[in-house]
Symmetry: D2
Subunit: 342 residues, 4 copies
């Protein structure tokens, strides 16, 4: 069986990465490619790395263009997914790379996004407890944000095992593709090369409530997240440095055992051998998340660090992995655990 | 049928890239991995991006370790291939990523390498006239240098069509992985980031005679190459800017027609639409060479530019492509035309 | 005596670099800062590295704002300088970082810029034969383009000594700041990091006639330039690789002697010791041009390579150096020969 | 009066930066340059950006070579400073860029460095309470580590005002020059470009006790620091993201007021306007530390972020600033607040 898939937002970075992965997916045929300002252009001029699709024309994003596909990937600005989903009908699998259906709490949505809450769809992070069950057979998937993917994979084993206190501190560095492909002066190569800078400091980044929501679900209790994102001089990758106070009596073996248990069978999370730490370069282009953890004896904080490719495991790879589960395909189909390094 | 392949030099950049590609090759089973100073270590500590091979141990390079494979890839320092080949016997396909068997002219070899000439093996650039015939069924392959790959793909159509004068000027920029993985102060990140510098200026780079040899073969007459390599602040990629005087009467249509004819059916060379120029970022991780050409009306020089990934089409991908031909496998098997961008 | 200087275009890269240098110039007081879309903002938000000027407001560019200064630096889009100069009057020293007054040949101007020729001002490359005489006391200076600065410093000694044939081939790599600060998708960090690409291929770049004009002046005969610019993944720097056929009988000593003679007393050009090659990283932030030259015995081509910081010697530093000469100040005042490395 | 200064370790990154700054210092004459493996070479081959010193020879590091100077800067491996200081005598100002004399607690020294404690010298971070008094007239200076410089400038105002709880969490990203100039495979450009990775996780980095010591001094009570350093793909710069729990009742105005009070008069620390955040690119090459702070209302954590150039304010600039104080020179002499950007 071949699944026919459309990609809305094909000229952006998320859309391009979806196409890169779908081209390698033996069970998927690529249907309509749609865009907004890029409509009417050949994909070869917009995504010159996708040689096999170079002659394809980008269509204007519309229900008509997206109809008639088994799967529709949405890589659209916030707020547009609900209308598209409604019009496409319940039989179409909609995989939304935007934020619209990630948050369960309408108040959190309204605080961080300033618009009415659209609802909540099954969350496309299969590694979380219960996630695969929710994804199996669904026709609606909310793909996680790139930062929450990195942070949750680093921290959920700790909270699921009840080993940490109710506050996590996260500082994450992201490559610039996470900021998208729209022309902005502060994202020019001249500005970002040779420089690191934070943004969204003080709890204002929209990915913060998404992290809290799922850590709380793992812990069975509220978890506050102090989150500071930073922009790093690289095109891809997220390195998330996360820490939380170890509960009294917890020792390093307890921590290691919790991570072993939570991650041992995961095809796309690699708990590294002790002493080896994640590097974003090692997961460039792959759907792997590298994870490592340590307990600092002096401060009694558990430090958990993950590295992902923000466009693969953090977006398009997570989307395809979740699609596979929803459609009953092998979960790893079309996805690679092998990075392109150096 | 599955081919069993060994890689000598598995801890270096060429070896790592060979393994990355072979892991994706449906017709190959990876056998022994050998190294020199890395022998005894787990591959996971040396090549952390190759997750599926993380537990593999690197063996000392020896005939015993390499024996019993259908294919042996050699990523060794110059001068070691002949002895290994002799001991492995004539039935083993040996794919040499080193320089030992690239040059036909013993004098050129001795001038540039300072040691006795080992011989000449079929040259692993299938796109050159006659190359596929020479590679089919062979048990010895000399993989081209990374710079010659880029330069020959840019210029052989011009010379094969007899459109250019006998002197080519080439300036090429390479990512740092081309310089290898040995620790050197001048290759430290601090030194190479934010900086470009030439090396091997004035005709001294060892890849120069390799370019001349094959351009001359295409032209049926001697071709002198003025070659200047430069080191660019990126880990992968070669951008080769090549030019030569157009012969009298040659016009832009003649040039375009020659490239169309030479490259139209090539699976791994993409002559871009007119007006679009190659970028190394677009071929990152892929076996594609992007090529474009223009005739400067003021100087009457043809400017031909190519972009490749030095580790893929420039080394490991070219090696696998040639292996496929030698073994009668589909030429494109295990190789991707899709880049990992941005 | 203190000179009062205004900078039009203060929010761009050339304007910011002019201000950086003028802040270090003991003979200059910084007056009005003007801009277009940035007017009304504090400079601290636009150029956060220029701490001493953080509180300054950017004024709209107008004759009124620029009047009353001894020196006015123009970092404006092409075509605007003539009107500004006319209105400011003949007593004001106008240092134009744009192209309007660089070319002597109206036909070349119209071919490359498509507008009427505005005229020709003394050319701000003091190292060229006769340039200092033309600059002394002038009230109008045309600052060279960044590429011509690098190329002319590499090649004029060769042509002034009559050692090379009438055609030069130049391939130059530039950092992205040379493309300016306007938001463009193709200049995003995600696009430029890890990638090299050419542009303006085939003799179409506007700096081409500027190179030819001044090489011809040095040679006393026409010189054709085949010029290919490339964009490199770094924010600053130009590495220009230039070559030309040596005239019959010319040997390496002749070449070396010509460069020694032409460059020995230059405060801002450093002919490197034989065997050491330029690197853009070594001149980052400095007004130095590093130059080296070799004669390739096989092709009989002279290869001359220069490295500059495109924003310093290639723009703002050349402008200040020329201003010093025009005003009778010490030529090196306010300028550094020391790079910021690594 | 001109001070005569020697630099031991002149071929490394700290040594090179000391020389760059001293060349710009009007009150300093550069005397002996010494090194270990580089002894006997010309500095021009080792530090090609320092054009004015190109012809200088590097001498072997010895008491004889260093004697007879007013100031001796030591950029040596740990453990060598005490012997040099003893031999040079009490009249020579010794500015030690190494760690030997930074820690007050012998037990902390022995835990982190594994050798006997050499003693404690006045700490060269003039912005700390009481530091200028301790530095005035001293003949021994312990230059802070680069990370502690960034972290202490971000956090001491908070602790000095008693606004935060006793545990700080710090995640800092450093450019690769912080790791030095010795050839190491993991620092090759190919490895670091496009990648971020942590190291020294779990409280094992040697700069940790240095941070705790001085935060505790500011607070008048113990402060535990959870410190995770990461390596970023840039040659220079440290971005330190620091946070601590706000004490009950503390509000954003209290925090702002504390930073205003502590930093308002500092020549080399720039508390940015509210809403503007530090970037390492803005302080490249300058002695400025940019600082910004916010109170996250949801988690009640104060997030304080600083950006410095690790080689300037983090090493050589801090050393020169402290030397100026020790010698009674103007504190800012020879130091710039202006970055080289972009």
């Amino acid at each position: 069986m071949t699944v026919r898939a459309a990609v809305a937002g094909a000229s952006g970075y998320a859309g391009g990465e979806l196409l890169r992965l779908l081209l390698n997916h033996p069970g998927v045929e690529i249907g309509a490619l749609t865009g907004h300002s890029s409509a009417g252009q050949r994909l070869g001029a917009l995504q010159p790395h996708l040689a096999p699709l170079a002659a394809r024309e980008v269509l204007p994003t519309s229900t008509a263009a997206l109809a008639g596909h088994d799967v529709v990937f949405l890589a659209l600005p916030h707020g547009q997914s609900a209308a598209v989903a409604r019009e496409l009908g319940e039989e179409t699998l909609i995989v939304d790379c935007g934020a619209d259906f990630r948050l369960a709490d309408p108040a959190a949505w309204e605080t961080f996004y300033g618009s009415p809450h659209a609802g909540t769809w099954p969350y496309g992070l299969p590694e979380l407890p219960g996630a695969r069950t929710a994804l199996a057979g669904t026709r609606r998937i909310a793909v996680p944000g790139c930062y929450p993917t990195a942070v949750l994979l680093a921290l959920f084993p700790l909270y699921a095992a009840g080993l940490a206190g109710p506050e996590a501190v996260v500082v994450a560095a992201s490559g610039t593709s996470g900021a998208g492909k729209a022309a902005r002066t502060d994202l020019l190569g001249s500005e970002v090369m040779g420089s690191m800078r934070p943004y969204g400091v003080g709890g204002t980044h929209r990915h913060t409530p998404e992290m809290s929501q799922h850590l709380a679900a793992a812990a069975g209790a509220p978890v506050a997240v102090s989150f500071t994102p930073t922009l790093a001089p690289m095109s891809r990758g997220i390195l998330a440095t996360c820490s939380a106070a170890a509960r009294p009596g917890v020792d390093a073996d307890d921590v290691r055992a919790a991570y072993d248990k939570a991650l041992a069978d995961e095809p796309f999370v690699r708990l590294l051998p002790e002493g080896q730490w994640p590097a974003t370069g090692a997961v460039h282009g792959s759907n792997t998340a590298q994870v490592q953890v340590a307990l600092d004896p002096a401060t009694r904080r558990v430090v958990a660090i993950s590295a992902i490719d923000n466009l693969v495991k953090g977006t398009a790879g997570g989307a395809v992995q979740s699609m596979n589960i929803a459609l009953g395909l092998p979960e790893a189909q079309g996805l690679s655990t092998i990075g392109v390094a150096p």
